[in-house]
């Protein structure tokens, strides 16, 4: 166990050093700013977002009607995304970005539920903080509330199927979901602003070099924090996690919870 930890710390150090050597200064990474997608693309992502929002509202309604006691946990998942996306964290590339925090809710409530919660967070930031934007809400929701959560969900389910331990499934799911959010943002910008030579791919790669590397350490932090919260939840909220099917029998710590609340 301890040697595994040391190995991980070693790997992290090597990664950080590699980043320092290879990545130049002054990268940036954030949501797409207000007005910075041409009208057609802004409209396209808005339309693409809508079916997922509808599915999300349905899925949340269903969860809450089936298990009213899960409302608080749902609020907590939203609050987690709310905090994490408020924290602009410095990254090794010399610029700052923020995690998305949607991995946790995805693992608990499924991907479309997080489309709705992610969108709410984005609306708040667009209206009150001039961060992101209303015209770019569709694109930003698509990356943070649709691609991110669906990737997280796929990885989480896949890892569990392969028999990976819960912490590893949660970590990979949250980390890669976070990373994919910003890779999607790069694609969205690349599609809207193809480079004169090399077209969409060239400019996507340009944006990706900027976005993805800044995001990497933050994504790892988000993965770790999500594992932490799941650890805490599995100690104190076993019943709720049981409703949500987070545990498959063998992981469930055997402690009878006789009292019905």
């Amino acid at each position: 166990m301890l040697s595994g930890k040391l190995k991980k710390i070693g790997l992290l150090t090597a990664y950080v050093m590699a980043i320092y050597i290879f990545i130049p200064n002054n990268a940036y990474a954030m949501h797409i700013m207000e007005g910075f997608l041409p009208f057609n693309w802004a409209a396209f992502w808005w339309i693409a977002m809508i079916p997922f929002v509808i599915a999300g509202v349905r899925s949340i309604k269903k969860t809450v009607t089936l298990h009213p006691s899960l409302k608080m946990l749902l609020g907590m998942a939203g609050a987690f995304a709310f905090v994490l996306s408020a924290l602009k964290i410095p990254s090794v590339t010399g610029s700052s970005s923020h995690p998305t925090g949607v991995g946790l809710g995805t693992i608990l409530f499924g991907p479309t539920a997080m489309t709705v919660l992610g969108m709410i967070v984005l609306i708040f930031q667009a209206l009150l903080l001039a961060h992101g934007g209303i015209t770019t809400l569709g694109a930003n929701t698509f990356s943070m509330g649709i691609v991110g959560p669906f990737v997280s969900y796929g990885i989480y389910k896949g890892c569990k199927k392969l028999g990976a331990p819960l912490w590893l499934s949660v970590f990979l799911s949250a980390t890669l979901g976070d990373l994919m959010t910003y890779i999607t943002t790069s694609f969205q910008l690349g599609l809207a602003f193809p480079a004169a030579s090399g077209g969409v791919m060239a400019s996507t790669l340009k944006f990706m070099g900027i976005f993805a590397f800044t995001q990497l350490p933050l994504a790892i932090s988000e993965g770790i924090l999500t594992v932490l919260v799941i650890n805490i939840l599995s100690a104190y909220s076993q019943k709720e996690l049981g409703f949500l099917g987070v545990f498959t029998g063998k992981e469930l710590p055997i402690k009878k919870q006789g009292v019905k609340v």
């Binding site: 166990m1 710390i9 950080v16 320092y20 200064n25 002054n26 940036y28 954030m30 700013m33 207000e34 007005g35 910075f36 009208f39 608080m72 609020g75 907590m76 609050a79 987690f80 709310f82 905090v83 994490l84 996306s85 408020a86 924290l87 602009k88 964290i89 410095p90 990254s91 090794v92 010399g94 610029s95 700052s96 970005s97 009150l128 903080l129 001039a130 934007g133 209303i134 015209t135 910008l189 602003f193 400019s203 340009k206 944006f207 900027i210 350490p217 933050l218 790892i220 924090l225 932490l228 650890n231 805490i232 100690a235 104190y236 909220s237 009878k256 919870q257 006789g258 009292v259 609340v261």
Partner: protein, 97 residues
Amino acid sequence: MKSITRNGLLLTIVFVLTFAPLIARKAEFAGSDAQAEQAIGSLDVNYTPWFKPLWKPPSGEVESFLFALQAALGSGFVFYFIGYSKGKHSASKRDQQ
């Protein structure tokens, strides 16, 4: 490993990941929407944003206040929930005995 040690270790890693760049690197750590504008400008010289934010925080102070408020509200609820769950958990354990 005890869960408190384990969670403590995890937090330490996050702490290092977050603060190491500040110590190890001289940079502005700009969130830099301005730089994003530049990158787009270099790809499409004629692009002008066609929509402005409806409201902008009037100063950096107001903006950081709002970001801090967002973080405080969020973490407030997260920790309320954790405390609530913990209390419920130990109460139901006590009832069993």
